[in-house]
Amino acid sequence: MQMLIRVFLVLLFMCAAWVRAQSSAPLPVSEIAPGNFVHYGGLEERSAANLGDNANIGFIIGNKCVAVIDTGGSFALGEGLRTALRARTALPVCYVIITHAHPDHFFGAAAFRGEQAVFVGHQNLPRALQQRGTFYLKTLIRDLQDLARGSEVVEPSLLVKDRLELDLGGRTISLTAWPTAHTDNDLTVLDSSTSTLWTGDLLFVQHTPVLDGSLTGFLSVIDQLAQLAPAHYVAGHGRTDQGWNAVLEHERRYFQLLADETRRALKSRRTLQDAIETVGVSETENWVNFDLFHRRNVTAAYTELEWED
């Protein structure tokens, strides 16, 4: 009997060690511009198998310290990002920047608690996290079960109202807080020394763009982003070799069509349900996960634009 217990305990220990090794295995990252390391998340739905690895996340290394930009969809992913970071530098992490309050971007944040980093976000981020955090955690646990362990909402302590420059030593990054577009708390990060723009979910590549803020706002932000001409960029989701103007135009076309066809549906007095079934279907082949997100976008577009006069 004692023997059995001993075997059981050894097995348990091995399991725990295996799980730990799994969760802290370094995430693959690519250096897309000097000092800018990106981990590209997958395009499939969140599952226990992918631990919520659905968004592009990464870090920028300066001479003095490191800034992390988004942390992945679970604590385990945050740990994986931290391990990847530690494999490349021993410098302290001074900032953890959350580009907006969606769970695939922020649930790994707690992995950086021990780094003494300052958590940074849009001035509307705390409100959004407060409104949605509990719900997001509940659904994360539903999907990942035990593998969601450690994931939690980390409140930002440094808020960006308009613009903010952060010094990483020999490299300054500028953060821009945007008006309501993808969400009401979108933040972008520009590393001017390499002309690399981290867009958060203001830019979707391959993956169907998602509207959780304002359609008219998104279109106007895309116009402003088009004025920038970064040499390198990191979209919130997906990757491609196409240049800045091409990917931005691809996204703009989708939202413009969504706006035009929704307005047309409203003008011809069609109902929400009717609009959901007909608006934007010609874009089906152009994006991944269209079935999962497009109809929701139409709902958001319709309920926003029906108040236009």
């Binding site: 409100r127 409104q131 949605r132 509990t134 929400l272 709902t299 309920t303 029906e306 108040w307």
Partner: protein
């Protein structure tokens, strides 16, 4: 009427918070007759009254898979005409797994025309939606539909922040450009209001959630649609229903929320006049 509804709802906010296990991964459509959620709701709302199969009286239409759990369009259509000796008097709309299952109680008259009601609902979990029609003779008829959508009550409802200045702003939108006397006209009443869910993550339990609780619509002084509603109705509540104009008249909507704010919208309507909607 108002207090009756609150009385109906309150126990559920408490009971369901503790009892109902989230079974959100249920893939197959469960049998509405076997639902364990329904029995306690039925007892409280209808007591021992018999509820008959409603497919020949009223039907409820919803997408099987709702894409946005905070805004799911629902339509209830009567299968019979409103006649003086026999008409559909009340429709109870119930999302049985929502924390407060009675989404609304809607009253109709002979001036409503054949009843058609459309609104938008929040869903906390996959759920049967039940529409129970009460006829003028007091008999009850039920139709139901299963919907896969989850997270609408506690999920975010602040996508379109309502600035205080716009609070209570209303619009009428007609399905057709003009009306004809003695024929039903479909009109949508839109209300700018956050319709706060008391279950949302940010909700301070010491406060009273601010949502629209009553809607009274009349035409030429006679009621056409009166409703007591709840936060299972999506933000910026929308109600589409019909009424039968027998001559020129004023369409009037009076709305009251849980913070005792009252809002009113009127529109004078006559045959041939171009009506808002496009």
């Amino acid at each position: 009427m108002r207090s009756r509804l609150s009385w109906l709802l309150l126990p559920y906010v408490c009971i369901f918070a503790f009892v109902a296990p989230a079974r959100a991964n249920e893939k197959a459509e469960p049998d509405p007759a076997q639902s364990t959620y329904w029995e306690p709701i039925r007892k409280i709302m209808f007591g021992d009254r018999e509820i008959l199969d409603g497919k020949d009286v009223l039907r409820v239409y919803l997408p099987l898979r709702a894409d946005d759990a905070s805004t799911v369009p629902v339509t209830v259509k009567a299968q019979i005409e409103q006649k003086p000796d026999y008409y559909l008097k009340t429709v109870y709309l119930i999302v049985e797994r929502n924390p407060s299952p009675a989404a609304g109680v809607f009253h109709f008259t002979l001036d409503s025309g054949r009843v058609q009601l459309e609104t938008r609902l929040r869903f906390e979990d996959f759920s049967h939606v039940r529409a129970i029609g009460e006829m003028s003779d007091g008999k009850l008829y039920m139709s139901s539909r299963w919907v896969r959508a989850a997270g609408g009550c506690s999920a975010p409802n602040a996508r379109n922040y309502v600035p205080p200045a716009l609070m209570g702003k209303m619009k009428f939108k007609f399905e057709d450009e003009t009306i004809k006397y003695d024929e039903p006209a479909l009109v949508q009443l839109m209300i700018r209001h956050p319709n706060e869910s008391a279950l949302a993550g940010d909700f301070d339990p010491s406060k009273v959630a601010r949502f629209v609780r009553s809607v009274v619509v009349s035409y030429a002084g006679k009621p056409v649609m009166t409703a007591e509603v709840d936060f299972s109705i999506s933000e910026n509540p929308s109600f589409r229903f019909s009424f039968v104009p027998h001559g020129a008249g004023e369409l009037r909507a009076e709305v009251e929320d849980t913070h005792d704010q009252r809002y009113m919208q009127t529109l004078t309507v006559s045959e041939g006049q171009k009506l808002p909607g496009g």
